[in-house]
Symmetry: C2
Subunit: 338 residues, 2 copies
């Protein structure tokens, strides 16, 4: 039985233990999550995602340091969840996280948690959601989730975020176009990091062109001749029901452009609150969580109900091509109810 009171009161050791329980999906962890839930919904969740080589980790680090360097009284507490897909087998934290932990350590207003991507991706997104809820309930005001890689994984995890920051960098090669299209559709703020490198203009131009494709509503407006804020103009100029993702240039190794990025994130947060999008995103997130929970419960109940050895017997038939997988599934599910 995990007591959630110390976690709510800011006890770091209790927090750390609870995070482990949630990550391992223990019954105690699930019970504590359920109890904590009433305290959630206050933090601002920022997803930071993008292709390999864009310098995300160092940017997240800079963001955390910026938030913590604000004048006394305006410093939000910061939690970082680094989702590390480096190894589904060994589950080790990557070097970058260790460096970051050292840099940010000693600040009681920062908590960094690395997570290996274990099991299925659905499981990964669910576990991440759990960790975020713990940080939210524990009173962390800024919660950043950083994901490495690109594709459906990023999309799933980015759905968790209030503000999704997509990081690009100049000159990442020819496949990058394919990645961007999907990732751009979930972007609230775009960053061209390593902006001191050659090719930054063409990267930004490509992003701007693709934004038109990814956000069709903007095309419609353009078509009707109504001028709206271009993505490279300051986000503060944006108003009304449409959010146009701004493009920020940063050099994370030097901190260049980080204050402007923080401002863009703050603008998006304000937009979420005034437009009603915040509630819509919260609802969508919780709907996903319910559906995933139902799926997991059904499966574990099925596993308990099935006769020992029956699964292996069906599998042998399928391996020998005596039965198709479809026939096997029908048998296995029948076995549970009969």
């Amino acid at each position: 039985m995990i007591d959630i009171q110390p976690v709510l009161a800011g006890d770091r050791l209790a927090l750390s233990r609870l995070l482990t329980a949630v990550e391992n999906d223990t019954p105690d962890g699930r019970r504590a999550l359920s109890e904590l839930f009433a305290h959630t919904g206050r933090g601002h969740l920022i997803g930071v995602t993008g292709a390999p080589g864009t310098g995300k980790s160092s940017l997240v680090n800079r963001l955390a340091r910026h938030y913590r360097g604000l004048p006394e009284g305006e410093q939000p507490s910061v939690a970082i969840v680094a989702v590390d897909p480096s190894s589904p087998f060994t589950g080790g934290a990557v070097l970058g996280d260790r460096i970051r932990m050292v840099e940010l350590s000693g600040d009681p207003g920062v908590f960094v948690r690395s997570m290996a991507s274990r099991g299925s991706l659905g499981g990964l997104a669910r576990t991440t959601a759990g960790l975020v809820q713990v940080f939210d309930a524990a009173g962390y005001e800024i919660i950043m989730v950083e994901t490495v890689g690109a594709g459906q994984a990023e999309v799933d995890i980015a759905r968790l975020a209030d503000t999704t920051v997509v990081v690009e960098a100049p000159g990442l090669g020819d496949d990058i176009q394919a990645i961007k299209a999907g990732i751009l559709e979930i972007a609230d703020v775009l960053v061209v990091n390593k902006a001191d490198r050659p090719g930054v203009e063409s990267t930004e131009r490509a992003l701007r062109n693709m934004l038109g494709l990814a956000h069709p509503v903007r095309r419609v407006f353009r078509h009707h001749g109504t001028r709206i804020t271009a993505p490279d103009e300051p986000a503060v100029e944006q108003q009304g029901p449409i959010w146009v993702p701004p493009i920020c240039r940063t050099v994370s190794t030097e901190g260049t452009g980080v204050p402007e990025l923080v401002q863009a994130i703050a603008d998006h947060r304000k937009y979420l609150e005034t437009s009603g999008d915040k509630l819509r995103r919260d609802r969508a997130r919780l709907e996903t969580e319910l559906r995933q929970g139902v799926r997991a419960t059904l499966e574990s109940r099925w596993r308990e109900g099935i006769v020992n050895g029956f699964f292996d017997q069906v599998l042998e038939d399928v391996v020998a091509r005596r039965r198709s997988p479809q026939e096997g599934v029908a048998l296995l599910v029948q076995g549970e109810t009969g």
Copy 2:
């Protein structure tokens, strides 16, 4: 009702229609898959995966052209499934595939199929498995599945393959290390593409170092002083129960190194057959398929059993923080059985 006989007889139009039915997961498609299953297990399935910017598409294209350019009588028929995660929303095929289709079109021994990554990743892997089974049953001897991106997605899809080819390229940035660790563990053959670019030696060196970490069995052997084949030596020197992933250098734009890569893939295929790994992989694949099928069946049955509007009602309670998601799930699953 889909007649599978024309597909088995090599009718391309019937094949194309069946692939669409399987991709859309229609009842007819599922039935046809089940009927076709007895004809599967003959093709060699090659997964080609790696980070963005490595030139995978062009390499897959070169491989296909190489296979089709072999002397008469030794030309395998080739199917290509390009899994395109570019957009979970629009589902468009990327430019590269269109170019490829044009280049390979007119050859009746080649079939290219692009797939958008729709829905959940679990769904994507399942659909890909279905398409591969169709090609396998239809008599395609080489079936290549190309995936863009990196992370759990690649791992899941690569589990489908008999031979997993992981493509790298020099100078893809600093995050690349984190990606490689996970991806390397599933690699059977490694490729350093764009090998005419600077940095190829250091990329190869990094790969070789990481191979030691990713394949602990090799470390053990090294520890005991037993010399085993280094990954850069020709794969034909490898024997016994251990497969050490060879590293091939290629320049896919010019075709350099492609014959050596084809040889490495052929060596791995021979290894699979002699070591018993082929059967083990087939079994693991089918086990995953059974489990996923059970999961999907349980969920759709639950969806049918639930009272209309009950899900939305529970969701509202959760959004209002009157109930935790855990409590909501318990109610929803109870609702089904009670």
